[in-house]
Each structure stands twice: as structure tokens, then as C-alpha cells.
């Protein structure tokens, strides 16, 4: 006679069946509401959720057992020119990510099995003329599709199940402007939003809103002189080659029907005006809306509110880099946004300045920024010729475009700061726009250590609103990857040498590390598939900031490939 299954076993099998069927039932279309509720097993948008926390609430992997974390599977995308810089997404156990040349993959999140792949045909002669290329920072997801931008100025929608092209819309005349899209798009409310590269490229830096269902362009916003008022802040028609752009994804504030976005610096990067920048130099005036945070109506693309973090930015300290951390403090709804200078701005939900604090130790481009008003105090404006005192921070920023993480359990913001400076000689330049646009920098420059010290990077655990520091971990070379924190009291930092570190989120004690074999400069997420928690990180070096590492630091960077990479996924050993 067969032994009957025990009561417990049959209960367990019923429970498993329920979980499985629940998963099948919830494998529905990803929509705005689902992204907003920030599902615990998924990672549905670049910044984790519209709150921008880069946080996973999962606790299966935690500070007690992280010592058992081991590689579960690996995927190699191929043709990883300039390494891997993307943030993976996960919905219902399927992981989606991009490689260079906008290669897109859908993988089984538990096993790494490839479900489908898509390699767009790109204008490679154009890509050969680009500098900030051919890497890709990731996807957006919504309405049964994933969305990816290309270096030749297109936005492509792919069916999530099959990888078939749903639509392919050309948005930028990249042939003429030379720039395209490297940043991940943002999906919200039936709209896919993506911002062009720009900055030191002489264009007008558009941000686009595209209909997710049809691929038709709904609106565009020119970050350079996008309104009549803004036009007045560009003397001598300099808006025509103003730069700008919005090359990293912002977020969606559903309460205000608003897309929040950071904009890039103006061109030329370095002006020769001296203190009379309002009337003299290459681009007299504030240069709106460059180096700003802006709020656009998601339906119309019209500007609702903005704060220009650095008026007449003459240091290349974009606002485009930073995540928008949406949090509540003492009944106030706030937004925390890092500027590339290393100054961290705290706003109310209408972008009114509430506080400003600084994560960098070495900073002299201004004396300070008024924490109540955001006014720049003691700014350094250069004239043509050699600049006497090195400028801090370096052109790679006091922070870069890799995101920090806010952990609602600890209340701490885990953010990487960078300590490096530069010598420079300012030179008057003329923008080149034909036959194709070229970079317009405005100076010869060279990396330099901070005064009296060495270059280094640091992960800070800070109060996001006051900036009060709880703990800090230092690295000899600034890590260039995003940070992840979890409900399991962990903070993950993928460093530049190739080591993935896990720290206790409360104390900063290092609990675990693993060598991924090559430097990191991309995203890291955590998700659950089949009841098991995973941590997924991309490894693969060679982006613009990392170009300086071999000549500056030597060591492992001298032999590190700049055309290779892998997605590496961890789980607890059985």
C-alpha cells in the first residue's frame, strides 16, 4: 500500500501550487500602477521604482547569511565595446538587459536561459564618428513592451514575450548632430520619455515624450532655450549651439502628473568670460535650462517648474547625472537630487530648494552653495589662458551618473563621492556644426590629485536631507557603478577593480566580496524568481570616465579589457 503524503507535505504542495499560480496570474502587463507600487519581486524601471531608491525590499539574502552568496549563472552579451553600463530590469521572473550597440536580451531570471535576443541594425558609420558611444544604459518597460534607445537617434519598442519589434521611431537627426541616445528611457502613463545626449555637443538637447502604444512622438522639449523666457538667457544667439540634453532617466511624480528630469551642461564646457559671464564670453547669460532639474507635464511636455542648479555652468557639472529620490520627512514631501559637482540638492515636490549639502571633500569651483536658496557663492569663472589653481572636482565629477541608493529601513542614502581635480588652460573655440557637429570643450586639461593628497573614492552613508554622515568606506580608485541596498540590511558596491562588495547597511562593516574579473561601471539589482532571491550586476569596463584609469592608476587597469563584459547573477548556496 502506498504511503499517503503527510498532512504537512500536502499543505506545502498546495502552498507551492498557490504561489506558482499567483505568479502566473500576476504575469500581467506592467503598467504605471504596478511600477508605482514597486513590486517586491521585480525591478520594473531603471531606478527600481518611481521613488528612485535603487532599493530591494527582499530579505532572503541578509547580513546574517550573505557569506553564502555565490554565482548562480552568468550571461555574456558579446561585442561589449566600452564595457557594460546598463541596469537590468525584471518582471515576473524574466530579466531584461542591454549591452553595447543596444543589444537587448530576455533571460530566465533563475537559470539565465536566453528567451530571446534582439540586435538592432545601426548606422555604424555614424557610430564610428561618436565619442560617448556605443554603450547603452538600459531599458524601460510597460504595456507588454520593453523600450531601448539607440546611438543613431531612434527609440525602439520590442514585445516583451517574443522580442519582435513593435515600433521603431527616429527622433534625432544624429547624422547631423552626431549624438544619439545612451540613456535608459522612462515609461509612465502611456508615454515613453527619453533624453538626448548633448552637453559639450553643439545642439539644443531635446527630451522626447513618445506614445507607448504607437511610437508616435507626442512632444519634445528643448533643454536649450525651450521657452521664450529661456531664450533671453543666451546672448549672441549662443542657444543655437547651446548643448544641454537629458541623457539619464528621471522619474515620474504621479501626484503632480509630472516627469522630473535632470539636464546637461551647456557648450562650450569651459567659458572664457571671467566674472562678466552675463554679458561676455561664449554664451552670455544663465543658459536656461542647462544644468537644471525640470518638471514637465507628462502629457504635453510643457515646463511646469524648474531649478537651475548651476546658472551659467562653466565646469561641466551636469544635473543630468542624478537620481530623484522621492521621500517624506516630518510630513514634508521632498526630492533629493545629486548634481555632478558633488552638491546634493534637497527640494520640495515643486523643485523649491529646501537644503543643499556636499558629498565631496575637495571642491573649489564655488566657495559654497546657500542651503536655503541654492545661490552659488564665490564662483570661479575663468578667462582665456592657464588657470592658476587646479579646479576641483575633475571633469568626471564629484559624483557621476551611477546611482546611489536610499534604504527606507535605515533611513540612509548610500552614495559614492569622487575626489580628483584638474589643471586647465582655457581657449576660445568656435562650435563646429558642419558637416557634422563636433565636441566643443573650450580648454586643454589634465587630471590632477586633490591638493596635498591622492585621488580616491568613497561610499558615504548619509542622512539624505541633512547630509549628516554616519559612516564611510574609501577606495583607492572611485567606483563607477551604481549602488544597491536591500531590506536584508545590505549595501552592495561594485568597484572599479572588479570586486563586488557587500556591507552591513547599519555599520558599514564589509561582510562579503567576490571578484567578477573586470571593472564595474553599470547597474545592480535584486529580484526574486521561483521563490529565490538573486542579485544581478553587470561587469565590463571602458566608459568615458574609466578611460583615465589606466594612465592615472596603472595596476590592474593596464591589462583590463575595454571591450568585454558579462552579466553575473548571485544567489545563496543551497
Amino acid at each position: 500500500m502506498k504511503k499517503r503524503p503527510s498532512c504537512l507535505a500536502s499543505l506545502a504542495s498546495v502552498a507551492i501550487a498557490t504561489v506558482l499560480s499567483a505568479s502566473a496570474a500576476s504575469a500581467q502587463s506592467v503598467d504605471t500602477a504596478r511600477i508605482e507600487s514597486g513590486g517586491q519581486n521585480d525591478w520594473l524601471t531603471y531606478h527600481g521604482s518611481y521613488k528612485g531608491y535603487h532599493y530591494s525590499p527582499l530579505t532572503q539574502i541578509n547580513s546574517n547569511n550573505v557569506g553564502n552568496l555565490a554565482v548562480a549563472w552568468i550571461h555574456i552579451p558579446g561585442r561589449s565595446t566600452r564595457g557594460l553600463q546598463s541596469m537590468p530590469l525584471v518582471a515576473d521572473g524574466t530579466l531584461y538587459y542591454t549591452g553595447s550597440y543596444s543589444r537587448v536580451f530576455a533571460l530566465d531570471g533563475a537559470t539565465g536561459e536566453v528567451k530571446w535576443s534582439y540586435f538592432p541594425e545601426l548606422d555604424e558609420a555614424l557610430i564610428a564618428r561618436q565619442t560617448h558611444s556605443p554603450y547603452n544604459r538600459g531599458l524601460a518597460m510597460g504595456e507588454g513592451k520593453v523600450y531601448v534607445g539607440t546611438m543613431d537617434g531612434r527609440l525602439i519598442a520590442l514585445d516583451m514575450k517574443s522580442g519582435k519589434v513593435a515600433w521603431d521611431t527616429k527622433l534625432i537627426d544624429s547624422q547631423k548632430l552626431t549624438v544619439g541616445f545612451t540613456g535608459a528611457p522612462l515609461y509612465a502613463k502611456g508615454t515613453v520619455v527619453i533624453g538626448a545626449q548633448g552637453g559639450e555637443w553643439p545642439g539644443r538637447g531635446p527630451i522626447f515624450g513618445v506614445d507607448a502604444a504607437t511610437g508616435k512622438k507626442k512632444w519634445d522639449f528643448q533643454t536649450v532655450a525651450g521657452t521664450d523666457d529661456a531664450m533671453k538667457s543666451w546672448g549672441n544667439d549662443s542657444w543655437r549651439t547651446g548643448g544641454g540634453g537629458g541623457w539619464m532617466p528621471g522619474t515620474y511624480d504621479s501626484e503632480n502628473n509630472t516627469v522630473l528630469w535632470g539636464t546637461a551642461n551647456p557648450a562650450p564646457l569651459y567659458d572664457w568670460s571671467g566674472p562678466d559671464w552675463k554679458t561676455q564670453g561664449a554664451r552670455p547669460g544663465e543658459n536656461l535650462y542647462t544644468t537644471s532639474v525640470i518638471g514637465l507635464d507628462i502629457d504635453t511636455g510643457k515646463l511646469k517648474y524648474y531649478h537651475q542648479e548651476l546658472p551659467h555652468d562653466t565646469w561641466d557639472f551636469d544635473s543630468a547625472v542624478g537620481e530623484f529620490v522621492m521621500l517624506d520627512r516630518d510630513g514634508q514631501k521632498l526630492i533629493v537630487h545629486p548634481n555632478k559637482s558633488g552638491y546634493i540638492f534637497v527640494y520640495d515636490r515643486n523643485l523649491g530648494v529646501k537644503n543643499v549639502w556636499r558629498i565631496t571633500e575637495n571642491s573649489n569651483f564655488v566657495k559654497s552653495i546657500d542651503p536655503k536658496t541654492g545661490e552659488l557663492i564665490g564662483r570661479r569663472d575663468f578667462t582665456a589662458g592657464k588657470v592658476d589653481e587646479p579646479l576641483c572636482p575633475h571633469i568626471s565629477g564629484g559624483v557621476s551618473w551611477n546611482s546611489g541608493s536610499y534604504n527606507p529601513k535605515t533611513g540612509l542614502y548610500y552614495k559614492l563621492g569622487q575626489e580628483w581635480c584638474m589643471t586647465l588652460t582655457i581657449t576660445k573655440t568656435t562650435p563646429i556644426v558642419a558637416p557634422q557637429a563636433q565636441l566643443n570643450i573650450g580648454a586643454d586639461f589634465k587630471i590632477a590629485p586633490p591638493p596635498g593628497g591622492e585621488i580616491y573614492g568613497h561610499l558615504d552613508a548619509r542622512d539624505p536631507v541633512t547630509g549628516a554622515k554616519k559612516w564611510e568606506v574609501r577606495y583607492p580608485e572611485p567606483p563607477l557603478a551604481s549602488v544597491l541596498s536591500t531590506g536584508g540590511n545590505l549595501v552592495f558596491v561594485p568597484d572599479a577593480r572588479g570586486i563586488l562588495h557587500a556591507y552591513d547597511a547599519d555599520s558599514g562593516a564589509e561582510l562579503w566580496s567576490h571578484n567578477n574579473g573586470t571593472g564595474h561601471q553599470g547597474g545592480i539589482i535584486s529580484y526574486s524568481a521561483g521563490g529565490k532571491q538573486y542579485v544581478a550586476v553587470v561587469a565590463g569596463f571602458g566608459g568615458m570616465a574609466s578611460d583615465d584609469y589606466a594612465p592615472t592608476f596603472g595596476g590592474v587597469f593596464k591589462s583590463m579589457p575595454r571591450d568585454d563584459g558579462a552579466l553575473i547573477v548571485y544567489s545563496l548556496r543551497q
Binding site: D237, T427, T429, T430, V433, D547
Partner: protein, 117 residues
């Protein structure tokens, strides 16, 4: 649009800027015209480095940075010409459609003349 130096001092790519700028948003890119001898003689490579090349070739090409040091470069002229025209994937853009042969020659002369500041 203000220019920082005389029209004679600019090469065909930038001359095309001067001609097309008033209708910048809508003009077709001007075909690069053959530069005059005076254009070539005054093609300002130093300014080109401060605008474009110097992003990677630090300190005007004098030290290694994002790109290699150009001062004292041991490669022959053909190598430099080829690299400037065709670039290197994931490292350097291709400038063959932007500069003509004479302008590339001027860039090579600038590189060969580089000295410490």
C-alpha cells in the same frame, strides 16, 4: 554669432558653419569646399584641440589621458593619418568626413611640433 577669429583663419568645416548658421536648424549640411591656401595656412589646430581633440588627448596632446600621449609619438605619418580618418572603435571617433587631407596634414604637423609647456 560671434567668431573668435577672422573668416580666413577657418577651414572648410567651420566655414560651412559660417555659411549655414542663420538657418542652422533647417539647413542641409554644406559640402566641404576645397580650402584656400590661406585657409590651410591659418587652420588653427591648437583651437581644434581645445575644442575637440583635447577631450581625450590631455593638455593639448602632451600627456596620456583618456587617449594616448601624442607628443613624441613614434608612429609614422601614414598611421596618424589613418587613425584620424578612421578612428578606433570604442576609443576614437573617425574624422575622415570632417577634415580633408590638407587639414589632417596640419594636424600631423601640430602633433610633430608638440613640446612641453
Amino acid at each position: 554669432m560671434r567668431f573668435q577669429f577672422s573668416v580666413e583663419a577657418i577651414g572648410p568645416a567651420v566655414l560651412a558653419l559660417a555659411l549655414s548658421l542663420p538657418v542652422l536648424g533647417h539647413a542641409q549640411p554644406a559640402a566641404p569646399a576645397q580650402p584656400s591656401e590661406q585657409d590651410l595656412a591659418n587652420f588653427d589646430v591648437k583651437e581644434l584641440f581645445a575644442g575637440t581633440c583635447g577631450f581625450c588627448h590631455s593638455d593639448g596632446g602632451r600627456v596620456a589621458g583618456k587617449g594616448p600621449q601624442l607628443m613624441g609619438d613614434q608612429h609614422d605619418d601614414d598611421f596618424l593619418r589613418n587613425r584620424i580618418k578612421n578612428g578606433k572603435p570604442g576609443a576614437m571617433p573617425a574624422f575622415g568626413a570632417t577634415f580633408n587631407d590638407q587639414q589632417i596634414d596640419a594636424i600631423i604637423i601640430y602633433i610633430r611640433d608638440l613640446k612641453p609647456r
